[in-house]
């Protein structure tokens, strides 16, 4: 489904990803871990097509499409979803109007019929229950004045609404207390399916207690230096990143 080869990305002239390789198959959950500044978030933003992330080498193929040739919205139309680490606030933009625009823009791009207001409402209410999001927040401006946990739930709600083929969840666990983490994890687990792949980007092993990955990768210095299964995450939890950084430097 997703194939990344020798990806190199600069931000403001600084080389962050230095030849990253990753293959994600349909229905798989990959956890990407690594110390701060290793390039985890850069990978997620480069996948979503954010301006300022300059790809200087390598390739990213998604279902055979060259992502580098596509705008962020076109990538979303193909089924890529990025759950943000810091979801931005959109004052004055109604959450429900936003989600309906988003869903219908994607449906239009795929040649599907738009969802009418009634069908949309039904769907958003169902999905809001999945992440235990207060319906009042649907009527407010997107993320404006939401707590950290509410913002993350709103991200997972959008993922549930858009039903992406590939969801990249960028430090979705950061800033969450244990109860909020459980709710988010339950929401994500409910969305696991044989057609849907998930990339979990996280600094801590804790999230992986709740969302069990098929693969765990460690990024150091802009490259994946080690891959394994969930045992690797437990090892990291015990020993920290130091030993793996030393190995990578050696």
């Amino acid at each position: 489904m997703l194939s990344i080869k020798n990806l190199q990305v600069d931000i403001e002239g600084k080389n962050i990803l230095q030849g990253l390789d990753l293959d994600v198959g349909a229905g798989q959950v990959h956890a990407i871990m690594g110390p701060n500044g290793s390039g985890k978030s850069t990978l997620s933003h480069a996948l979503a097509g954010r301006d300022g992330y300059e790809v200087t080498g390598g390739e990213m193929l998604f279902d055979g499409h060259d992502l580098l040739a596509l705008d962020p919205e076109q990538r979303a139309h193909l089924g890529i979803f990025l759950g943000m680490q810091y979801p931005v606030e959109l004052p004055g933009v109604n959450n429900m109007v936003f989600m309906r625009e988003s869903l219908n823009a994607i449906r239009r791009a795929r040649g599907e019929e738009e969802l009418d207001a009634v069908a949309f409402m039904q769907r958003v209410r169902d999905k809001a229950r999945l992440v235990d999001l207060d319906e009042k927040l649907l009527k407010r401006s997107v993320n404006a004045g939401f707590s950290g946990g509410e913002k993350k739930r709103n991200e997972i709600l959008q993922m549930a609404m858009l039903e992406p083929k590939l969801a990249i969840l960028d430090e979705t666990d950061s800033g969450l207390d244990i109860d909020a983490l459980r709710i988010i994890a339950a929401g994500v687990n409910a969305l696991r399916s044989p057609e849907r792949s998930i990339i979990l980007i996280t600094h801590y092993q804790r999230l992986l207690d709740y969302i069990e990955p098929d693969y765990v990768h460690v990024i150091v210095g802009g490259r994946i230096v080690r891959s394994g299964d969930k045992e690797l995450a437990l090892e990291l939890e015990k020993k920290g990143y130091g030993w793996i950084e030393e190995e990578a430097a050696a």
């Binding site: 979503a48 943000m84 959109l90 933009v93 936003f98 994607i106 858009l162």
Partner: protein
């Protein structure tokens, strides 16, 4: 450069034209007001950029036209496309003016509640003009402002609204000013008077609509008197022709505990300025001014707000938002004066501007002058661009860049639009803003 020494010749002609009507044609008080205004018109210096009030809004372009009144104009109601004027599902009592002339065929003021007078100035002068005499020119004066004098010197028609004590008008009152233009330089000067007696409540919607590419100068003036405890919600939509000049002069006179809530939506005009003058002389009054404006290529939109607190315990709020694109220009000058005796004043002003292009320009100038020591006052202005993080967020959700820009602009404007309490007008505002935003986004 036009200076006081080089007064445009059309002014001189207007001064002559505005000479007294033949005896008995209009009441003496009006003849007197006009005569005073003529004197002012002949004496006051012409605005120029050296005057602080006109520093950012060049009037040379306006003055070099040779405007003349539309005295001979006779409105043809059918040609004015009456259907296109009306907002869907908007039930109002309505006055319609075309090029400043009242059009009874398009107006609708039947079944007005008892105690409500709605009509045009010229007709009223022929019959019941006593109450008008008590208010006319009181708030506006004749001596300080050149364009006020110009309006007064030639005043002969406009809208009138009077609401008796404790009457609540059951529908919004709508005043529509159609400006099809008659030729290249029509001078259109509605002279309006709105008076709410003690405890009265009303909602007023004024809409200025210019057609096509008409070139004209709409120099309208509205005096508003609110007696004790009266409440007026006042909406103004300025959608003049893109070749037009527009100057709205509003003068408020508020008694104790009266409440005025004004909302201006400004989309049109080549050169459009709104001046609000609110002077609190009675305690416990409240004045709220909201505004939303847009300006693109070859457009200047200007707001001058002058709020003076001369007595204690009055409340004023000013909240204005602008979206500028292309080579659009805006001027915002918001002055709040709090005199020494005006303790417990509560006055706040904000002006936010969203610049969609590098070539757009805004001059924003909040001025707080506070001489009392126990007050709550603040002001804040911002000038910014669309946030790339917000744009990326929307695009990552499948929304095209142009649609993302439109959504964020609507979001920016939403605070003002959301404060409109009339659903049909709110719908109109969203629809009208979307047209401008489509133009802005296409312009890039």
């Amino acid at each position: 450069m036009t200076t006081a020494d080089t007064r445009p010749s059309w002014f001189e002609q207007l001064i002559m034209l505005s000479g007294p009507d033949s005896p008995g044609q209009s009441p003496a008080w009006l003849d007197n007001a006009r005569a005073q205004a003529r004197k002012t018109l002949a004496e006051l210096p012409v605005p120029n950029r050296k005057q602080e009030n006109w520093r950012y809004s060049a009037v040379e372009g306006l003055l070099k036209n040779s405007f003349h009144p539309t005295a001979g104009y006779v409105p043809d109601p059918q040609a004015l496309d009456p259907e296109s004027l009306l907002l869907p599902s908007f039930e109002t009592y309505r006055l319609v003016f075309a090029n400043g002339h009242y059009v009874p065929q398009l107006s609708s003021s039947e079944r007005l509640p008892a105690g409500v007078t709605l009509g045009n100035l010229r007709t009223a002068l022929g019959s019941d003009s006593k109450w008008i005499a008590g208010w006319f020119g009181q708030a506006a004066g004749h001596t300080e402002h050149l364009f006020t004098a110009l309006n007064t010197a030639l005043a002969n028609d406009g809208a009138l609204l009077h609401v008796d004590e404790n009457i609540e008008v059951d529908r919004p009152i709508e005043m529509i000013y159609l400006n099809p233009g008659q030729d290249d330089a029509s001078l259109i000067q509605p002279r309006n008077l709105v008076v709410l007696e003690a405890g009265a409540r009303a909602t007023l919607v004024e809409r200025f609509i210019g057609s096509g590419k008409a070139r004209y100068f709409n120099n309208n003036l509205t005096e508003i008197g609110l007696r004790e405890g009266a409440t007026l919600a006042h909406y103004r939509v300025q959608d003049e022709s893109r070749n037009a000049w527009h100057l709205s002069s509003l003068y408020l006179s508020q008694a104790q505990q009266s409440r005025y809530r004004g909302t201006t939506l400004a989309f049109g005009g080549a050169w459009a300025r709104t001046e609000y003058n609110a002077h609190f002389r009675h305690e416990g009054a409240e004045c709220v001014l909201n505004g939303l404006y847009t300006a693109g290529d070859r457009q200047l939109t200007d707001f001058h707000l002058d709020v003076q607190h001369s007595v204690p315990a009055c409340i004023s709020r000013e909240r204005f938002k602008g979206i500028l694109y292309g080579k659009g220009r805006a001027v915002f000058d918001g002055r709040i004066l709090v005199d020494r005796q005006a303790q417990h004043t509560d006055a706040h002003l904000t002006n936010d501007n969203l610049m969609l292009t590098r070539d757009a320009e805004v001059d924003t100038k909040p001025q707080l002058e506070i001489y009392a020591d126990d007050v709550k006052c603040s002001h804040g202005t911002t000038v910014g661009q669309l946030d790339p993080e917000q744009v990326f967020y929307l695009r990552s959700r499948g929304i095209a860049a142009s649609a993302a820009h439109r959504m964020l602009c609507l979001g920016f404007a939403n605070e003002i639009i959301d404060s409109i309490e009339l659903q049909p007008l709110r719908d109109y505002a969203i629809h009208r803003l979307a047209i401008t935003l489509n133009e802005a986004v296409a312009r890039g």
